[in-house]
Symmetry: C2
């Protein structure tokens, strides 16, 4: 009898998730009822935001807290292999908010978006550069920050799933891009692989402010903030008149988990006549297709290079998730489950 | 020989200014040299922002810290009574950043703006509703917040120089206006004199959040923040999707004096897709005349009623300034020095 392997929540993480919080279990492959279809998952996307739903009592009416012992909820990219649903046939590719499993049963209401049956680029791009994270970078820069040539665009978590795309898009606009990341190795990769003008290591502690000033000699015109928290206070002291600060969706996720003290210098927004914009990507779903088409064009021209941190196999999904929090990833973190 | 009375900085205030920090001295009336003119000051404007320059080591290249024993710098409205300056003749009315004095010498470079010789409204309006504070309310609402009919506009320091005008402008837009002030008496005046839909007393402490929710049953669409600090955190938890938070110039002034911890829930900006705008009024100087004409029209129609907290005579200038910090003022605080 065919089996299905799933990653279950073995323990609720305390602070950062640890490998022992997750366990792979094998169960019979599920069968489908009328109106359902079976997905074989090619990729699992690892996204820090899902950490929140691992807490007891977290979640809301739309997304309840994850249950202990149940498969971990996440973002999946799968292919229909069996269908008793009128709208889906084997071969269809879908992204869904399902679980960390090899096979999942879906009914079309699982926050699904459909991919073309013959995608113009590697499948995993739909979880990264063409997914929520890449689209966050795209909309945050093209619709909100709108950097001008010669401006300085600072990006936190600059090598992450959002930041790695945001940095390249900002560069396309002719901006000086400065990335913040943890550790000298990542900082070097920001410049060599992602084309950042300069990189600043947030682990510098008390020397961070001076290093930032050196990296941004003309001040900061745009801050694309993917992390929230303490860096914002330092950044606010170095913004230029008319600066735009973009708070990306990810901040909300972290924030919900453990609120951090806010910056004590918000008055800088006044003296610099700056604006701070919070935004969510999913409210722009009507522009996803157009945005993806543009991003594919930029990728084909080599102006945007998607970077992935990829592990293989269901046994590595928990580890990939932990790597994300330990800062071991660079680019979009995915786990590949099949040969496709 | 003619005399001139001035208010000098007798002591640097610790925290809130006290009457003993100021002293009236009498000196000979100054004489003017070529290129100068003598102003008789009709009004002194009291503005909290000037408190910062009373601190030792405060100030910058444009505005140095005030000197101990010297006349206190402030905003004045005076009439030219003698002139050896080509552009000014007796009878001209000017606003200037000069000192708390009956007579001041000016040379036209003292941050001066000229008033019409026959103003269409009481002189003191140029320090309030038609001055920096009224214009801050005007630009903050008409250019930044742009409230729509039926939206809820929350205003802090709602009975102050900026807030008292902002509340009335927002009401003109058809918004539900909710004011925050200190104490039941002021809260009552917000509703009875300024037309606020509701008022909330910030002295309620731990009950403030619940009182705010009751006063804003449909959530908050616009927050016009004149004070900065702790209230913002409570407000952020009650904003609606697409909310606009306007940080008015005054916040910068207070902030420079004693930075307050920032809100720990800035992620609310993300989940609500809200924006926070810092702004300064003086960068819009090219629109002052048009804005004043509009405000005068609204005043003449009775849609905006300027409220003043007015004391009389140079002896009361220090007290008026202290009243501002003790929250004894309602409306724009001015001291009238002459019969004009």
């Amino acid at each position: 009898m065919s089996r299905n392997r799933s990653v279950i929540l073995a323990a609720r993480p305390r602070g950062q998730p640890a490998p022992g919080d997750f366990r792979v279990v094998s169960t019979p492959r599920p069968t489908i009822a009328d109106g359902e279809f079976l997905l074989r998952n090619h990729y699992i996307s690892l996204d820090a935001g899902f950490r929140n739903w691992m807490n007891e009592g977290s979640g809301d009416s739309v997304l309840p807290a994850m249950a202990l012992g149940a498969p971990v909820m996440g973002l999946t990219l799968g292919e229909v292999v069996e269908s008793r649903h009128a709208d889906y046939v084997p071969g269809n590719l879908v992204m869904a908010r399902l679980a960390w499993q090899e096979y999942s049963v879906a009914n079309g209401h699982d926050f699904i978006s459909r991919l073309p049956d013959q995608p113009p680029c590697p499948l995993s791009y739909y979880l990264g550069v063409l997914g929520d994270t890449g689209l966050s970078a795209y909309f945050g820069l093209t619709e909100i920050a709108q950097p001008r040539a010669g401006e300085t665009v600072l990006i936190s978590a600059a090598g992450g799933a959002v930041g790695s795309i945001a940095g390249q898009i900002a560069k396309r606009f002719g901006a000086h891009t400065v990335g913040i990341a943890g550790g000298p190795e990542k900082c070097a990769r920001l410049v060599s692989e992602l084309g950042y003008t300069a990189a600043v290591d947030h682990r510098l502690g008390s020397e961070f402010a001076a290093a930032l000033r050196k990296a941004c000699p003309n001040g900061i015109d745009v801050y694309f903030d993917n992390v929230g928290g303490a860096l914002l206070e330092v950044v606010l002291n170095q913004i230029n008149a008319g600066a735009r600060i973009v708070l990306c969706g990810a901040v909300a996720s972290y924030g919900a988990q453990q609120p951090l003290p806010g910056p004590s210098n918000l008055f800088q927004l006044v003296t610099k006549q700056a604006t701070m914009h919070g935004f969510l990507t999913h409210t722009r779903v009507d522009r996803y297709d157009a945005a993806r088409a543009t991003l594919v064009e930029w990728i084909e021209r080599g102006e945007i290079v998607p970077i992935e941190y990829r592990l293989d196999g269901i046994d590595n999904v928990g580890r990939a998730f932990c790597d994300l929090f330990a800062g071991r990833n660079f680019g979009k973190t995915v786990v590949k489950l099949t040969d496709r």
